[in-house]
């Protein structure tokens, strides 16, 4: 078997998270010889979807000798995401999926609703995020005069063109802040809150004061609006069987174009020639006898867990995965939804997100809902209190899985010096836009050019297709 491993590859990829799998797929399509390794026996790394038994064992929250997962139906019916996210239906990941034809291996459904909370505690109300001018007029989130201001704001965002000063309402886009834009329309603080956090999807309020930051915020509002417009109910779509299907789909793409896959394989050593990484020593386990091998590569890319000395921690995410037997209150009995609790509504600096999916997406047996509450840690203890405003929205909880704060890593260097290109951890945002930004960034660093996915597979000879 070892003789099937080539002495040299163009690229070795370590970890099968989404970022790594997209890059592996793209590089294989572009004709690079790729060896793709994961130390785990499954695809997905930190962003895998797992069954209930695996989840219980990961968190260890059951008495030894008991098997609590057995009371929750067929184990194979569970696909619980470790990192909760949705795809923006007009976002970049959708674009990459379509351009690479990975859509062939996956099926998607809409997420039924996008909601936002106003107020806190017993006074909290949860309402649908208005996605167009007509919904703004019906929304309970605003009073009658504010609705009209919001309507004209939304209409203006729709017509906005960064290149055409005539659409800028007399504001200088090079210097003006988003705060100034809101003020121009006379929007109230509560409206700014849901526009900035539930539509532009900023997690904090720092965006408000950035000079020249308005065009980006407006672009994010447009992405939200365009995403809603695409399928109608919410800006989000979600793959059947869970997010873990996404890396598997891109891994298949990579394999189809010649990529070699090895799960259950640990990397003992990265081999250097001078300053540059030139190969790895690794062992494939789970077979008798274990297979030790060494191979070389022009460059190595991977997730932070394979390069602990080359990354730093930039924050911590708090996350509680909850199993419910009912839909979330005030969501019109949705089979799936997102609720955003903007930070200012509950006296925080970072928003709290709730992502909820159910059997409609083949991630659990009928009659169950999976709700994941997350936020960025702001304190060093009692983290459950930070998540409490989100947990309160869930009602009765059958099972709750919450571990210690999850560190978010970033590479120390850009990789051009040592030829090791490291991805960022999956952050607390509710979508994949930052993940695809990272994919593009890594590609630029390692290839010295921009990644263009449009038409990627066209003109490439593939046997028997």
């Amino acid at each position: 078997m070892a003789d099937e491993i080539a002495p040299e590859y163009d690229v070795i990829v370590l970890g099968t998270g989404l970022t790594e799998c997209i890059l592996s797929g793209v590089l294989s399509v572009k004709g690079k010889k790729v060896l793709h390794i994961d130390r785990n026996d499954h695809y997905g790394g930190e962003a895998a979807s797992v069954n209930l038994e695996t989840l219980f064992k990961k968190y260890g929250n059951f008495a030894s000798g008991t098997e609590p997962w057995k009371q929750y139906g067929r184990l194979n019916d569970w696909n619980i995401d470790l990192v909760p996210k949705f795809l923006m239906s007009s976002g970049e990941l959708t674009n990459i999926l379509v351009s690479t034809d990975v859509t062939r291996y996956l099926e998607f459904k809409q997420v039924a609703g996008s909601y936002v909370q106003q107020g806190a505690g017993s006074k909290a109300t949860v309402a649908k995020v208005p996605s167009d001018a007509a919904e703004a007029l019906r929304s309970p989130l605003m009073g009658i005069f504010e609705k009209r201001r919001m309507k004209s704001f939304i209409e203006w965002v729709g017509q906005f063109d960064a290149k055409d000063p005539a659409t800028h309402k007399g504001l200088d886009m090079a210097t003006c802040t988003m705060q100034e834009v809101y003020d121009k329309f006379g929007l109230e603080p509560g409206t700014k809150d849901f526009a900035g956090h539930a539509m532009a999807l900023y997690q904090t309020d720092t965006y408000l004061a950035i000079k020249g930051g308005a065009p980006e915020a407006i672009e994010r509002l447009r992405l939200y609006g365009n995403s809603v417009a695409r399928y109608g109910k919410s800006p989000y779509i979600y793959p059947l069987y869970g997010l873990g299907e996404l890396p598997q789909g891109f891994a298949r793409l990579s394999a189809i174009y010649g990529g070699t896959y090895m799960l259950n394989t640990s990397v003992e050593e990265v081999v250097y020639g001078g300053d540059k990484a030139v190969g790895i020593k690794a062992t494939m386990r789970g077979i008798e006898p274990e297979m030790k091998f060494e191979t070389r590569a022009k460059l190595i890319l991977g997730d932070p867990s394979y390069f602990s000395s080359k990354v730093r921690i930039v924050g911590h995410v708090l996350r509680a995965i909850c199993i419910l037997k009912h839909p979330l209150a005030s969501t019109n009995d949705s089979d799936s939804c997102q609720i955003i609790i903007p930070q200012s509504q509950v006296g925080r600096k970072n928003d709290i997100y709730i992502a909820c999916v159910s059997s409609a997406h083949n991630v659990c047996p009928k009659g169950y809902w999976i709700a994941i509450v997350s936020t960025i840690a702001e304190t060093s203890a009692n983290h459950h209190l930070e998540l409490a405003p989100g947990i309160e929205r869930l009602g009765r909880i059958e099972e709750q899985f919450m571990g210690p704060p999850i560190p978010l890593y970033e590479p120390l260097e850009d990789g051009t010096k040592d030829q090791i290109f490291i991805s960022k951890s999956y952050d607390a945002t509710s979508h994949f836009e930052t993940t695809t930004d990272d994919v593009r960034d890594i590609y630029r660093r390692l290839a010295g050019e921009e990644l263009v996915v449009e038409g990627l597979r066209e003109g490439i000879q593939v046997a028997a297709e």
Binding site: M1, E4, H42, Y43, S89, S90, T94, L97, V98, T103, R104, Y105, E107, F108, K109, Q110, A112, S131, D132, A133, I154, E155, V157, G158, Q159, L221, R222, G225, N226, V228, A229, R230, Y231, K233, I237, Y241, E245, Q248, G249, A251, R252, A255, I256, Y257, G258, T260, Y261, M262, L263, N264, T265, M284, G286, I287, D335, A360, V462, A463, A464, E465
Partner: protein
């Protein structure tokens, strides 16, 4: 197209499994293109082939998935088995180890795939044996090359294993085309009517009601000028 009411058409996901070089892709190429390539390179890119199989009462559209080499180091993704309604487990009847490997894949399918999956065990390369049937497809061609009988696995051995496990069983030659269409027709016939969903897109709505409607087709045309005309 005729004006007659069309027969119901259903998509069936079929996965290919088997040791390297037993002729998995060749069987499919014979079925799909009625073509055979001598000394074919190991599969790269045979990603997703489709072929229709016309039955008297319905049409089955096979969506055929190749392993893309991910089985080489035991790294097939669960996605591969997901919702597969049929599997073709192929061995080379001149190579005993390939039947052992085939049995391993059958066990793996029974563990990982949907309970109702139809599995066909197929012994390929019948043209390399002395069987009349195997060379029957194209006697001139086969007769010239095959002087001896290279068969190492008897029909009885494989057949009795297939019966034990409830598998369909065929011996084929991708090279001559012998029995190839028969395998796929038998699979199509064996798939229970109840497990068939209507082809995606073609009147799929009635099958699973509300939940089906929410399925989205990312490849569909975008809203006209979606980029320019915001819903806002």
């Amino acid at each position: 197209m005729t004006d007659n009411a069309p027969k119901p058409s259903s998509s069936v996901k079929l996965v290919l499994l088997g040791e390297a070089a037993v002729g998995k892709s060749s069987l499919v190429l014979r079925f799909v293109n009625n073509d055979f390539q001598e000394n074919k390179e190991p599969t790269i890119g045979a990603a997703f082939l489709t072929q229709k199989c016309n039955l008297p009462t319905r049409t089955i559209k096979f969506e055929i998935w190749d392993t893309a080499g991910q089985e080489r180091f035991a790294s097939l993704a669960p996605m591969y088995y997901r919702n597969a309604q049929a599997a073709l487990v192929v061995y080379d009847l001149t190579k005993p180890t390939s039947l052992i490997k085939a049995k391993h894949w059958v066990a793996e399918l029974q563990r990982q795939a949907s309970p109702g999956i139809v599995i066909a065990l197929v012994g390929n390369k019948l043209d390399l044996t002395g069987d009349v049937a195997g060379s029957g497809g194209d006697p001139e061609d086969a007769g010239a090359e095959d002087s001896g009988d290279a068969r190492k696995i008897s029909t009885e051995e494989a057949k009795s294993y297939a019966e034990e496990e409830g598998l369909l069983f065929f011996e084929t030659s991708a090279k001559t085309g012998y029995n190839v269409t028969e395998v796929f027709t038998a699979i199509a016939n064996a798939i229970p009517e109840t497990s068939l969903k209507t082809a995606r897109g073609a009147g799929a709505a009635h099958a699973a009601g509300r939940t089906e409607e929410q399925r989205v087709n990312l490849n569909g045309p975008r809203d006209v000028n979606a980029k320019d005309s915001c819903a806002c």
